[in-house]
């Protein structure tokens, strides 16, 4: 009867509780409901004819043989979409992308035609039977070649356009130039600097490769004039807006449903041609049309990440105090600028590249370039271009330390933004909300016995018979997540707020509907915990729904670690509205003034008279039964949260590697990850997110690569070549944390899932390069495969 305060608190399973994931019951029983599980009556299937060439003119498309196959219902090409003005579509970055290749193909595996058939296999046979005649053109796969004066014109549709979505285009293959920071101040600091370092650093093209590929089931009801589409999307509301704009169907008659999503990592943010074609086919045929891409299609044609050719420079004093940072980037965006960034930021949040350091002057300049490669530039498990930014600054700080013969921990300690400097305005204009790097760094260095490791390394270096080289990597990163304040961030004009709608039922359970959509983040578990703590309702009886635009409030979706910073805040704010109303009802029921009440875990109690209480359950019943005179019945609230600022999670990662001199194989001996994501909602889920992020970071650093030959043929577009680590390859992770809450966020949470990806990649590189640092090696390009590392060993005469 009289549960103690702590018993009542733990019964809520609110914030801070490592409650098990509510989602897992259905997943481990095979009861998930993914897009490919959707089966509708009369459903037919679509498959895509893709270009074998990277750059070619389409001379002729012959559909007849395909149409003659029994079961093939339709073959659509750009010419069929033209009357609907759907052969091109707008991209999130202000460019246009071909839905189906219009006269020309711009990259290998580009969509050329679609075949719709009564059976998935017949659709594939139909694809084989479509004959396309091409006239081969010179493919350009290198952005530096693309910018040469006599380079072929890749985008003939833009011929003569000197103004792009982000300002002047100075070359026919140039997309935009975007810069940030103070160029003059930075140049001046470099001119007078005692020490300067400069390095060319390439961040190769990789792909998020979610286990579930992209796909949709489009179902147009010709009688009602309504379109329902089940789709693999991280942003269903934006998809609805785009579909309505493209099709002319009122937004109220378009329903987009993201059911269970098998991983997104940024790959499921863009709107792909396959979606558009399936929707058109459904409208034309009046039947549901399913399109599910295969692995090769996913890796070859959907949103890639990175492909940044960066030149980093640091100016510093003789004793290692950084005075200025300058970064120039050639960004390979592929055939269309389909980069998924807030519309005003064509290089995303790349200007977080001043990192965790107090740098007085900084400047960055990014030039986007067209090439004959698949379009994209998505945020692969990171906020927009933050991975690239953290990589360049962390590499450059290592290189500076090497030049000055300083320890890489010391140089960081010397340049950190101090705790008392927060909120800190960076040279690029960001206002860092909070941080405590010195405490976190000391914690990590002590935990791993950094001095001991350095001593061991010195001993190994001195021993020519040592079978291994030892390297120690260190990264101290700051991320910018939670896009974002609508005054700065929008997608196609829609501000990047997020939303929550909470309804408490008469018996005291509740439902929350959200504008985000989980792809594995565990929203159903963690969102309920925020409400549990705010409203005193057990998270076990709080349902969380998201992904269906017909029921959920409008939100911008889940990517860029924005769910907790933005939607998580919306939940807290909506809950607080309910809390305020509940207080009025409690005061009415207890016949006291609101000021006489105080909140304790799950109830209001009268100050000085603890026996007089009203629990949230009692209040909920009263809200539907006898609200105070003049009060609206019911207990629900909606909140659209426009964040006042981004959040800035940070971390300190350390990695020890042993490199086999015989094989070049890099063994991760130890990886220690300390993260500070502010308030921790569910430590178990955080732990899981960090493990996942570190594993994906390991994949990128050690093996993932989308490469192309000179003719633009994509090399290795299946899982035979593309590295997805399994439990066999994955190292053991050690995790740790500090808690520095965000002062502007209602619950102080910053977001965590992307930090381990962003932070770990440069840590691996830092460790591998460190193994060779005593030989004067300052940088090695990813991925650090055994062969590449072995070549480095060989060049120094170390290969055994």
């Amino acid at each position: 009867m009289t549960a103690t305060v702590s018993e009542r608190k733990s019964a809520l399973m609110g914030m801070g509780d490592s409650r098990l994931r509510k989602e897992d019951t259905r997943f481990i029983q095979g009861k998930g409901n993914y897009v490919d599980d959707i089966k509708l009556p009369g459903m037919v299937f679509m498959d895509i004819v893709r270009s074998p060439l990277a750059h070619a003119r389409i001379k002729k498309i012959n559909k007849e043989k395909a149409l003659a196959i029994p079961g093939v219902l339709a073959v659509l090409t750009a010419d069929d979409l033209k009357p609907l003005k759907l052969h091109w579509m707008p991209t999130l970055a202000g460019d246009v992308a071909a839905v189906l290749a219009d006269q020309k193909v711009h990259f290998q595996m580009q969509e050329v035609a679609v075949v719709i058939a009564t059976d998935r296999y017949i659709a594939a046979d139909g694809v084989e039977a479509v004959e396309v005649e091409y006239e081969e053109l010179t493919a350009v796969v290198d952005p530096f070649e693309a910018l040469k004066p006599n380079a072929p014109v890749l985008r003939e549709d833009l011929a003569g356009k000197t103004e792009g979505a982000h300002g002047k285009r100075h070359h026919h293959n140039h997309i935009f130039t975007w810069d940030a920071g103070d160029k003059a101040a930075t140049d001046k600091a470099f001119d007078s600097a005692q020490v300067k370092v400069k390095e060319q650093i390439f961040y190769p093209r990789v792909h998020p490769c979610p286990l579930e590929t992209c796909g949709c089931v489009a179902s147009f009801d010709p009688v009602r004039g309504e379109l329902t589409t089940y789709i693999t999307s991280q942003a269903p509301h934006i998809v609805r807006t785009v579909v309505s704009m493209l099709s002319g169907i009122p937004e109220s008659k378009v329903r987009i449903v993201s059911p269970d999503i098998g991983g997104g990592f940024g790959n499921k943010v863009p709107v792909y041609p396959g979606y558009v074609c399936a929707i058109v086919a459904s409208i034309v045929l009046g039947r549901p049309v399913k399109w599910i891409e295969d692995r090769v299609e996913n890796l070859s044609s959907t949103g890639f990440a990175r492909d940044y050719h960066m030149t980093g420079e640091i100016a510093s004093t003789q004793d290692g105090k950084i005075q200025a940072l300058r970064v120039n980037v050639i960004a390979d965006h592929g055939a269309f600028d389909a980069c998924a960034d807030p519309t005003k930021f064509p290089a995303g949040m790349f200007h977080i590249c001043s990192g965790s350091y107090d740098i007085p002057a900084a400047y960055c300049n990014v030039q986007g370039v067209y090439t004959n490669k698949a379009p994209g530039g998505v945020a692969y498990r990171c906020s927009f271009r933050v991975t690239e930014a953290v990589y360049i600054v962390e590499r450059m700080v290592d290189i500076l330390a090497q030049k000055l013969n300083m320890d890489k921990a010391e140089i960081r300690r010397k340049n950190f933004i101090r705790k008392d400097q927060f909120p800190y305005k960076s040279a690029f204009g960001f206002e860092f909300d909070s941080g405590d790097h010195h405490t976190a760094l000391d914690k990590v260095l002590n935990a791993v016995d950094y001095k001991g490791l350095r001593a061991e390394q010195a001993k190994k270096r001195a021993d020519p018979n040592s079978p291994t080289l030892m390297g120690i990597g260190l990264v101290t990163f700051t991320e910018v997540v939670g896009a974002g304040p609508t005054k700065m961030c929008d997608i196609l004009g829609v501000g990047m707020f997020d939303s929550c709608e909470i309804r408490v039922h008469p018996t005291g359970s509740a439902i929350a509907r959200m504008g985000t959509i989980s792809q594995g983040q565990g929203h159903q578990t963690t969102y309920a915990q925020i409400i549990a703590t705010e409203l005193g309702i057990s998270s076990e009886i709080i349902q969380v729904e998201e992904g269906d635009t017909s029921t959920a409030p409008y939100g911008l979706g889940t990517y860029g670690s924005r769910s907790t910073p933005v939607a998580g805040a919306a939940i807290a704010m909506a809950a607080r509205k309910i809390h305020a109303k509940a207080k009025k009802i409690a005061a009415h029921l207890l016949e006291v003034g609101e000021n006489d009440l105080e909140w304790e875990i799950d109830s209001f109690k009268v100050k000085g008279n603890p026996s007089k209480t009203k629990s949230m359950t009692e209040i909920a019943w009263a809200a539907y039964n006898k609200p105070p005179a003049g009060m609206e019945p019911g207990l629900e609230a909606v909140h659209y949260y426009d964040p006042p600022n981004f959040t800035f999670p940070f971390g300190i990662y350390l990695c020890v590697v042993d490199i086999d001199k015989g094989t070049g194989e890099t063994k991760i001996r130890r990886f220690y990850a300390l993260d500070d994501c502010g308030t921790r909602i569910n430590p178990m889920i955080i732990e899981g997110q960090i493990h996942g992020g570190l594993t994906e970071g390991y994949a990128v650093a050690m093996g993932q690569l989308l490469s192309f030959d000179k003719q633009g043929n994509i090399q290795g577009n299946s899982l035979m070549d593309y590295f997805l680590p399994t439990a066999v390859e994955t190292p053991k992770w050690e995790t740790d944390f500090t808690v520095t809450p965000s002062p502007h966020h209602p619950i102080g949470a910053k977001g965590v899932a992307e930090s381990p990806h962003v932070g770990s990649i440069p840590t691996f590189t830092s460790a591998v390069v460190d193994a060779f640092a005593h030989l004067g090696v300052t940088h090695m390009e990813m991925p650090h495969t055994a062969y590449k590392v072995w070549k480095q060993l060989k060049s120094h005469g170390l290969a055994k």
Partner: protein
């Protein structure tokens, strides 16, 4: 995807017999597994087809062959083939083949070719392309040897030459289509030979 192949195949037949095959374009082309000359336009220009099937990728290339040079004195032929299949994969090959008389009366077929492949096949990446090209050429040499020997076998058999043992008992049918399973098997055996070859 560009592959450059530089290969020498010993052929257990006399140089003159070999030249008869090599300089007869349709006959020579039919040594290529899956290849066929379908039309002779003139002495220098032909139309032909090649069927290839490797794993999940199949293609029927149709295209033009242009003879750039025939030199009977040097027993050298230079030609350029260009083709595309219906799904749009393209291939081009510039080939220089010469016959060099060996001391024992047999012939060395010396081939140098630059192959550029685009499309499905190119996506396999370099290692597959190199191995497959090797296999195709080895089958070509084997078929070539059968035909040349049918004209005039060399006096001596050379160990390790590209003569199939069956050829001693008459004229077996040359392999006419590139066989995916056979190629796979040869890739596997070559892989193991590569691993264990050094020790044995």
């Amino acid at each position: 995807m560009q592959v450059t192949l530089d290969k020498t195949y010993p052929i257990a037949a006399a140089p003159d017999a070999c030249w008869k095959i090599l300089s007869d374009i349709p006959n020579m082309a039919s040594c290529m597994p899956g290849a066929e000359i379908t039309e002779k336009i003139d002495g220098q220009n032909y139309k032909g087809t090649v069927k290839v099937k490797v794993g999940p990728a199949t293609a029927a290339f149709g295209g033009d062959i242009q003879v750039l040079e025939i030199n009977p004195q040097q027993r050298t032929i230079k030609m350029l083939g260009k083709g595309a299949d219906k799904s749009g994969s393209t291939a081009s090959m510039e080939l220089t083949a010469s016959l060099v008389a060996a001391d024992d009366g047999t012939t060395n077929l010396v081939g140098k070719s630059d192959v550029i492949v685009n499309g499905k096949f190119a996506q396999f990446g370099g290692r597959m392309m190199n191995s497959v090209s090797d296999m195709i050429l080895a089958q070509f040499a084997s078929n070539f040897a059968i035909k040349a020997q049918a004209i005039a076998p060399a006096d001596t058999q050379v160990a390790g030459s590209a003569t199939p043992s069956a050829s001693q008992s008459g004229a077996p049918a040359p392999v006419t289509e590139l066989n995916a399973f056979k190629i796979l098997w040869m890739l596997i055996t070559n892989f193991f030979k590569g691993i264990f070859g050094k020790q044995s």
